[in-house]
């Protein structure tokens, strides 16, 4: 998960300062991915991933989805409930995951190794796809107008934040009040 998220993040973040990539070796796969090197961003990403892992542990064998959105802040309108911030999502990445618990078989070691190899191959393919997508379309990326902005604002949505019966609704209402009707992506 971290590979995918950081790969997406790396392709989209606009840094005014010098970007110092940091190579990270995957624990379970022979894949090297790159982190952006910004502590705040890394911390936020790691927290979201830990939330998602917690949700997976609570809901085994269920499909989950992580959404990574990049948006622009537009048109702050003052309302009775507060300042209205319009978010213009110009890019959204949906990462669908289906985490399965491995069944115990006689040849567990062989199956696990083959499963791991297949998973590594598919992960590598996903990373290739991300790079391909990120390079194919770049025209929609907004130009950085304000030099004070370090990176484009982004948002990571995990099932844990919207799965609770009460929390989901509150989160949606809060967003509706803040952003208004979300604009369609071009």
């Amino acid at each position: 998960m971290r590979c995918v998220v950081y790969c997406i993040q790396l392709s989209s973040i606009e840094h005014q300062d010098l970007f110092k990539p940091k190579d990270v070796e995957c624990e379970h796969f022979e894949i090297t991915y790159v982190r952006c090197g910004d502590h705040e961003i890394e911390k936020k990403i790691d927290e979201k991933i830990d939330q998602f892992v917690g949700w997976v542990e609570k809901h085994p064998n269920r499909k989950g989805q992580i959404c990574l959105s990049f948006y622009e802040v537009k048109n702050k309108h003052a309302t009775w409930f507060g300042s209205k911030i319009e978010r213009l999502h110009w890019e959204q990445w949906y990462i669908n995951l289906h985490v399965l618990n491995p069944k115990s078989h006689e040849n567990a070691s062989e199956e696990s190794s083959s499963r791991q190899a297949a998973l590594e191959s598919s992960l590598r393919e996903v990373l290739f796809q991300i790079i391909r997508f990120a390079n194919e379309r770049k025209d929609h990326i907004p130009t950085v107008q304000n030099s004070e902005i370090i990176s484009f604002p982004y948002e990571i949505s995990t099932p844990s934040s919207s799965d609770s019966s009460f929390g989901w609704h509150a989160d949606v209402l809060k967003r509706m009040l803040q952003t208004g009707h979300p604009s369609m992506l071009s």
Partner: protein, 625 residues
């Protein structure tokens, strides 16, 4: 509003500079992840903070690593002359990542493949054998300038101006450049991530981190021309092309062709990949001191080495294993104590033209198993040589001994004849003294050494077994006497084998010799000789008739028993055979015989004198006149 072709030169200079830096940055990113370097790869953000290059942020004097907002590690050496080599941005930049496979054993005739193969000049071929290297990746960076001022870019520029709320052309162009620059940034970040996902990166990391000797190495070749791959190579490769980025006057593109998998390359047989140790390692107690040094010129003509697993230098198998790689053939048989490692059996002798002696010797505790189909024709060192020491390998002559053992012989740990008859005669000329001449022993004539020992044993004890030591050959061609009537055939057999061991326990000797040092072997033989039973009684009895015969002829006063006569009659048939052997006695044997006879005469005279004195005392006195 269109941008005139003859726009301000500073702008074109900036564009050219960006394009140049684009090439340099691409090369930097690629070589950083493909060209092994000495410095550690572990770096942190702090290093960048402290480095002087990171402090500068101005675009005009921006350090090279800060271009496109991507800080990299130290610039590889390949980039130092990049600007000098690169004459025009219109030439493509072709970076071939080459995987080199070289043998572990350095070959003088073959150049080492670990050197940098960078070539800035162009189409020079690699100075290596064709099969020892392979292009595993090819990166192509190109700038294609538009033939005419393309209207597409003008539209792009105007579009940027529109987006920026309809600014002037300058602002639109500035916006376009900024946009283009952002695309460069994204491209290089994608390149940075992609290059670590390719199969070659794993090998690069292994080669960088591993401190072991590896036959594989990575190198690169930079050129400005594209040499097409063969269809076969092309089929094994995948291609990834980044979306080209438009510039005001052209287009920049970046693509890569890479091998889909490296397993085929790693499994391709080539030079032996197993580790091989220095075969003539000096200092190991298990080293055969008589082994020829491999650095000799004749050793280079040996056939390709057989790979073998690494053995500890102090293990018992060291000598055996280390020796076989240059040992053309070793003669073994079931009857012998030496055993050769079956995994190290080499081709027959015909394949070898090096007369270097095999390394296996009894001085080493080599637990090797032997093969029946191996033939031995090498010069074995003498086990009795006093100069043998574990740490001093001797340089043995490479000539083949005339008495070299053939297959089927039973003693191969005994040194062959080193023709040194002078020293042998010196040993034989000594009387009554045991002199195991060191020089005689050094020549490696086991037969001679044994004969001397035998000589010592028979002489001082005064036993009537001079016949046992009658045979003291002055040359290596003489045959020792055998023990029994069938001994001649046995000795003949030994002689056919080029070896003579008159003792019955020769097997034990060889068996023990296989595992002991030369000194221990000598001691064992001496002990055996001292404790061995006397030679056949029959032989002594057989010799007596002839001796009696000889005594009668020389000294008629000697009395002999009728028993001896009877014995002589009984063994008349065998005495004829022995007589022929005795007739070949040497001067020492004759001397001993004479001495014995003199002793007997002396004794007899003394007896007579005693009897006479008694008669004189008892009988009438005879007056002397």
């Amino acid at each position: 509003m269109a941008t005139s072709p003859s726009h301000s030169s500073p702008e074109s200079a900036i564009i050219e500079q960006v394009i140049t830096e684009f090439f340099a940055k691409s090369l930097h990113i690629i070589l950083e992840s493909r060209s092994p370097y000495v410095s550690s790869r572990n770096y942190s953000v702090d290093q960048f903070m402290s480095s002087p290059s990171s402090s500068c942020s101005s675009s005009s004097s921006m350090p090279r690593d800060k271009w496109f907002n991507l800080a990299l590690r130290d610039c590889p050496a390949a980039l130092e002359n990049f600007d000098i080599w690169r004459k025009s941005n219109l030439d493509p930049l072709v970076i071939d990542i080459v995987l080199i496979r070289r043998p572990l054993v350095p070959d003088v005739a073959r150049p080492l493949g670990g050197c940098l193969l960078r070539n800035f000049s162009g189409n020079r071929d690699l100075a290596l054998e064709p099969k020892s290297w392979k292009i595993v990746e090819r990166w192509i960076v190109q700038y294609e300038r538009h033939k005419s001022s393309s209207s597409k870019n003008h539209k792009e520029i105007r579009k940027c101006g529109t987006k920026n709320n309809g600014g002037s052309s300058c602002s639109s162009e500035t916006a376009f450049y900024k946009k283009t620059y952002e695309r460069y940034i994204i491209l290089f970040r994608s390149l940075y991530v992609l290059i670590r996902l390719l199969p070659m990166y794993k090998l690069f990391r292994e080669l960088n981190s591993s401190g072991q000797i590896c036959p594989l190495s990575l190198s690169h070749r930079i050129s400005s021309s594209i040499q097409p791959f063969t269809q076969e190579d092309e089929a094994k490769m995948n291609q990834f092309t980044f979306v080209p980025i438009d510039t005001p006057r052209g287009r920049l593109s970046l693509s890569v062709q890479y091998l889909r998998t490296l397993e085929d390359i790693r499994s391709e047989p080539s030079a032996p990949l197993s580790l091989q140790f220095i075969l003539d390692y000096v200092g190991s107690p298990t080293t055969d001191p008589f082994r020829r040094l491999k650095s000799l010129p004749s050793a280079r003509s040996s056939p390709p080495l057989v790979s073998f697993t690494r053995q500890h230098s102090w293990s018992n198998d060291h000598g055996a294993l280390a020796s076989v790689s240059h040992c053309p053939s070793v003669a073994c048989s079931e009857a012998r104590g030496i055993r050769c490692n079956p995994s190290l059996c080499l081709p027959p002798l015909t394949h070898h033209n090096d007369h270097s002696p095999p390394v296996i010797s009894e001085s080493q505790n080599a637990a090797v198993t032997h093969k029946n189909n191996m033939s031995f024709d090498e010069f074995w060192p003498s086990p009795f040589s006093p100069t043998s020491s574990p740490s001093s390998p001797a340089h043995l002559p490479g000539q083949r001994s005339p008495n070299a053992l053939q297959s089927g012989s039973s003693q191969i740990d005994i040194a062959k004849a080193c023709p040194n008859t002078a020293s042998q005669t010196q040993a034989y000329s000594s009387e009554g003294k045991q002199q195991i001449k060191m020089d005689t022993l050094r020549c490696g004539n086991y037969r001679t050494g044994l004969t001397l020992v035998k000589h010592h044993r028979g002489f001082p004890s005064g036993k009537d077994d001079t016949e046992k030591l009658a045979e003291l050959p002055s040359s290596s061609t003489q045959r020792p006497r055998s023990k029994s009537s069938s001994g001649l055939s046995l000795s003949d057999k030994f002689d056919d084998c080029g070896f003579a061991c008159p003792f019955a326990d020769y097997k034990d000797v060889t068996g023990s010799c296989n595992r002991r040092s030369p000194d221990a072997v000598i001691g064992a033989v001496v002990r055996m000789l001292t404790t061995a039973a006397p030679l056949r009684q029959g032989l002594s009895d057989l010799c007596r008739p002839s001796q009696v015969f000889m005594d009668e002829s020389l000294n008629p006063c000697v009395q002999h028993d009728q028993d001896n006569t009877e014995q002589s009659e009984c063994r008349a048939s065998t005495s004829e055979i022995l007589a022929s052997v005795l007739l070949k006695s040497k001067t020492a044997a004759e001397g001993l015989e004479e001495l014995r006879r003199y002793k007997e005469m002396k004794e007899s005279i003394l007896k007579r004198g005693a009897s006479w004195s008694s008669d004189v005392d008892s009988g009438p006195k005879v007056c002397r006149q």
